[in-house]
Symmetry: C2
Subunit: 405 residues, 2 copies
């Protein structure tokens, strides 16, 4: 029998009725002749409630304790789903991350999976059972519970699919696929039937809140097709894969946008080797993720350096940068938190000329000023004013006629 | 350093404020120069809430899944208490039953502890940490989470105290000790400063809802003194122990009572060997706990047999007994669920004459009819009508002048 891995998000298992609904979907998948392993998130707001409770006791709770606390949320939903399946006549068993053989490093709250021993899962599948695995968690070499951080349950699911040699990882939430743009902004945004791993990575990294890049990366490395679909309807969803049809498709797959951007500009930095490292290494050490970096061309060995961070990291970034800028005798540090970004993403876009020009023209026609530009092989990103982001997405979606298949 | 084991019940860790309060008590115990291991129950109604959720998905949830589900309650409170301690500057770590080395058999929902490997606890204590252990749970040889059933967290605490060679097990709830009778019935009931294991066992078994007999038995076997006290005040509590002072004390330590009693009488049973076994073995198999058994003296090889069960087991007991009584050609099966019991308990009572007579006279003076009598070495129990139980406790408490020390 082929193994398929399902993954159900927090809203999909949000209450008893929804859990029963998920159980029916799993039984349907089994009746198609597959062995099913299902990974679940914690029910609805469980994780937030537990975090709130922890913060009543400790402003800065120990990550090791936090991991143990939060891991209970997924354990609860995994047992409830197993109970629902058994009540419907389908034998099932819930396994914690530890029981499922998910070993991680010891970096609490953002552990990385170091290996999976799928023996117990295989044993349970061999008994004719559906195996429900508590997502988001594993066990360290010290036998302590760890959690995988953001995108954790997706990561569990794709990693398990790879380890079990599954034919597919089907990931169900309340979103029924990947769209050409956020459907809340663009009502006629089109659901993509397929997308490549690379495009999905760029979409995720550049603000489309669909799936954490981590899980997509594992899918790419082990070549596991990932279906993104809704557990609330029967729409076919979007298949993330590495198939051959990619090259011949429409070059622009989707538009990503992000409001949570802030910009820091350091004016009058000496233009000599080592400056960038001296600036960005301390930021990385402070846990600030730097996104777009732009350095203007140098005049008289003095240059201006601009980079973006998330809005929530702006304060921390300025604290780190302040003393360094002073030491470098930079002229001034400026910051702006009222900015956002918009990106077009598509495989092979840079090999086909005209996409960037078409994007810039669309923005210009809409009266939107471009503050910074950054590109990758399959992405073009423009940093613009925050209150222009929605207009920009609409203008670009229209310019590329993305509502059409 | 001496190790002391604390155990905090569900109300003692019912919310964030109470958890902080418990943390302070633990720190105070450490400042007296002890290593502290604290066992916690689930917060307040957590367990009931989880049971309700499970029953929405399955009328009869698999015990294995139920155990995993319920075990999360104690894990949550253990991590929160560890966080509270760290926030107050006391290093601490939470351990699940598995991490604390608590191995059990595989009888889910009422597992028995088969052994404890306290290595990790010792390691953590050696690091200067307070160790918080999630009560009520262990791990089977199949690496599945088990729960210990009723009195589970108390059992965890006393068993850990034995395994760690602790000097004492201090068990904190919202009740500040063992009283001569239920203080809700007898306002001037007196808190006992000490009580023997045997007396405590009889009190617990005969209706005083203070501590499950299981935990007391372990205390007795390993000679661990158990302090029963409240986490909400500084009253000294009651010490359960096997000390030598026992013999010289007041012979009647306490009065237990129970409303949850039902009586079954089988009339006209052949009086021959094997009859009792033929009746009570099937009841035991059906999980019905039989309490008092009284067989009247036989006339013409025909006898009447009466026994008591809990009210909640009456229906099941009658179902089991019906066909057997028919087979035995018994004349009739009668049942009465409107009864209760009252017991006096005291070490060495039966060696000092007059106690039974004094109890019976107190009941008689209060106009209370005795339906059945049962005795052990340290207990005299009268089965009476349910609506006379309160009066009976008051009359006996007064007759023995138990309010006086």
């Amino acid at each position: 029998m082929a193994v398929v891995v399902h993954k159900y998000g927090g809203t999909s298992v949000g209450d008893a009725e929804r859990i029963k609904h998920v159980a029916k979907r799993i039984i349907a998948a089994r009746q198609k002749g597959n062995d099913v392993v299902a990974v679940v998130s914690a029910m609805g707001d469980t994780t937030d409630d537990l975090i709130e409770l922890a913060h009543k006791l400790n402003d800065c709770p120990e990550p090791r304790e936090m991991d143990v606390l939060l891991s209970t949320g997924e354990i609860v939903s995994s047992t409830l789903l197993a109970m629902a399946l058994k009540n419907m006549g389908q034998d099932a068993i819930s396994l914690s991350g530890q029981q499922a053989g998910i070993r991680t490093d010891s970096v609490h709250s953002k552990a990385r999976i170091t290996g999976i021993d799928p023996k117990r899962i295989h044993d349970e599948l061999d008994k004719g059972r559906v195996v429900i695995v508590a997502g988001f968690q594993g066990i360290s070499d010290c036998q302590d519970v760890t959690t995988l951080g953001r995108g954790g349950s997706d990561t569990t699911a794709v990693a398990l699919a790879a380890s079990l040699g599954a034919s597919i990882c089907e990931r169900y939430t309340d979103v029924d696929g990947v769209y050409t743009a956020d459907p809340r902004l663009i009502p006629d945004a089109r659901r993509l039937s397929e997308i490549s791993y690379e495009e999905m990575l760029e979409l995720s990294s550049y603000g489309a809140k669909i799936m954490h890049p981590r899980a997509v990366e594992i899918g790419q490395v082990y070549n596991i097709p990932i279906l993104v679909a809704s557990s609330f309807n029967e729409n076919p969803g979007t298949l993330i894969h590495g198939g051959e049809k990619m090259e011949i498709r429409n070059k622009v797959s989707g538009i990503a946008h992000d409001f949570e951007v802030a910009k820091i500009t350091i004016l009058g930095v000496p233009d000599k080797p080592g400056i960038a490292a001296g600036l960005f290494a301390p930021l990385a050490k402070a846990g600030v993720s730097v996104d777009t970096i732009v350095q203007n061309s140098s005049q008289d060995h003095i240059t201006d350096l601009t980079f973006t961070v998330t809005k929530s990291d702006l304060g921390k970034a300025l604290e780190v940068i302040g003393p360094i800028a002073k030491e470098l005798q930079a002229r001034e540090v400026l910051s702006d938190s009222k900015i956002g970004k918009v990106s077009i993403i598509g495989t092979g876009m840079l090999n086909a000329p005209g996409y960037a020009a078409r994007m810039f023209k669309a923005l210009s026609d809409a009266g939107i000023n471009i503050l910074l530009i950054s590109t990758s092989e399959i992405r073009i990103t423009c940093i613009i004013e925050e209150d222009k982001v929605k207009d920009a997405v609409r203008a670009i979606h229209k310019a590329f006629e993305m509502e059409k298949d």
